[in-house]
């Protein structure tokens, strides 16, 4: 440490520094010129097939043998982990879907990444790997389709969901109707406008104001909002903890919750907003066959039954 900084030392260090900095800057520049998501998605799709998990390498052996024996591809013998980016409102259902899928397709396993659809979309747009994308919003699905992330022919409607108001079991604010949500001092949690459930809730507020309650009601309800959560289950949590008096969530959340967790107020169908969930396979997927199996399973009666059980409305 006490050694004096000789010019030779300085020259060496500065040379390395300069070189690395220049290369870094160059890398930065070239990257910024090609940062259109469409092109990167298109170009990375074939490239990412190289670092495929070892799973496909091992399964490659049986599949190359199999065609000679049986021309029809059966996937029961293959093994694979599927990454499914899944809207957070499916958190409850996912605990049933995972085991049931493995039961129906032995050796297949699905790993869920559950978050608000808007967060999942941002992750995919920034290069996250996923095989299947389950979106709680048609408009985000369409954005991802137009940006070239989806294998567009595989995108199908999965299920639907209505908005409902949930109250803590104790209902200390004594809320009996939608009109009561506008009472001063009521604390309401809803989703941020970027979260699909937040968009749906806004639509519900607008519809209800126009049909029955009026603009003043809507403004009071909005001024009672104490937090805009970043996912639908986060709103449910704040209600179940009793920290807010009411929350706007999906019907599925209220149905799937244990008895006595919430009280709920339904919103008439005419004012409600039918949220459409879609399922689709991403272009970058290296497990397309298993992904197709999973999609088929979700759309089959077995998959739909689970969703109905968790309070979703069949499309």
């Amino acid at each position: 440490m006490k050694e004096p900084l000789t010019p030779s030392k300085l020259a060496l260090i500065s040379m390395i520094f300069g070189l690395l900095l220049v290369s870094a800057l160059l890398a930065g520049c070239t990257q910024s010129t090609t940062n259109t998501p469409v092109s990167t998605a298109a170009t990375t799709a074939p490239v990412t097939e190289v670092p495929t998990p070892v799973v496909t390498a091992t399964t490659a052996v049986p599949t190359t043998v199999m065609p000679t024996a049986t021309p029809a591809p059966t996937y029961t013998a293959t093994e694979g982990n599927l990454v499914a980016y899944t809207a957070a409102s499916l958190s409850g259902a996912s605990t049933s879907i995972g085991p049931s899928f493995t039961m129906a397709y032995p050796n297949h396993k699905v790993i869920f990444n559950l978050d608000g659809t808007q967060a999942l979309k941002t992750q995919v747009e920034n290069g996250a790997y996923a095989d299947v994308f389950i979106s709680a919003s048609n408009s985000y699905t369409n954005t991802l389709k137009s940006e070239g992330y989806f294998d567009n022919t595989t995108v199908k409607t999965l299920t639907t969901n209505y908005i409902i108001v949930i109250l803590p079991a104790s209902n200390t604010a004594n809320i009996k109707s939608l009109a009561d949500l506008a009472k001063p001092g009521v604390k309401i949690a809803m989703e941020a406008a970027t979260v699909p459930a937040g968009t749906a809730t806004m639509a519900v507020l607008n519809n209800s104001a126009n049909s029955t309650y009026g603009q003043a009601w809507k403004n009071s309800v909005i001024s009672n909002v104490v937090t805009y959560e970043t996912s639908e289950p986060a709103v449910a949590t704040k209600v179940s903890l009793g920290e807010v008096d009411a929350g706007f969530v999906y019907q599925s959340t209220a149905t799937a919750a244990a008895k006595g967790t919430y009280q709920s107020i339904t919103i008439p169908k005419k004012d409600n907003y039918l949220q459409t969930y879609t399922i689709g396979i991403l272009r970058q997927s290296t497990n397309k066959a298993i992904a197709a199996d999973f999609e088929q399973f979700m759309l089959s009666s077995a998959g739909q039954q689970i969703l109905t059980q968790y309070g979703f409305t069949a499309p």
Partner: protein, 273 residues
Amino acid sequence: MTPKRFRPKNYRRTLTYLAAGILIAAVTLYLALPILALIIRMSPDMFFDTLHNPEVISALWLSLFTTVISLAVVILVGTPFAYYHSRYSYPGKVIVDTLIDLPLVLPPAVAGVALLVLYGRVGLLGRYFNMLGISLAFTTLAVIMAQIFVASPFYLRQAKSLFEQLDPAYEQTARTLGASSLRTMTLVTLPMTAGGLVSGAVMTFGRALGEFGATIMFAGNLPGVTQTMPLAVYVGMESNVTVGLTISILLVIISFTIMIAVRLIQMREENRA
């Protein structure tokens, strides 16, 4: 500057310099490149345009307002606390010492959940506040409470060790010369520790400004009320990326200013010593 010295007299030594140079460069770049990328991604025009965005402005003011209050509370309560804590021994002092350090290793999200189940409306203490008509969770006060909880250790630790290191002989001299204990504090103790205290305070400010996990859990996310800059970055990245990037760059600028301030204070202290 003699050219002789440039000739590798010792092959091994050159290798050592080379290795050291590469290591230093690698570490520096690893830390600096992400920040550089953030700045490259935004054109200055876009940055200054987005600065006028009401979301950005409200997050900036809310962050500055809450952080300044948090810092004031930490200094006003923390300084006398650290002083007495370092000067007296009392039963359970070790426990208090550990508790001071706890928020440094505790995940902020856990801190937020803990604050919520204590001060929340149905929480351990919160239910009594609620009876009095006081609500804490999901208010600007909750933001400040979360910041104080998470960021205070930086100041407390610094103040504690400064007071421990200060030779009590100075204070005793002042007292024997007839100065009151308050006068001794303001004229002897504080001036002698000022540099260190300020750098501790600056670190606390920086940590409070960056608070995210505890805030979103305990204070929620309401623009203008509890949506501080880090929360606005999170929400911005999911909707309007420009807003997310702009606030990120603002935070980088503030962080750099903080680090430079600390460095300057430390340099001045070293010169004085």
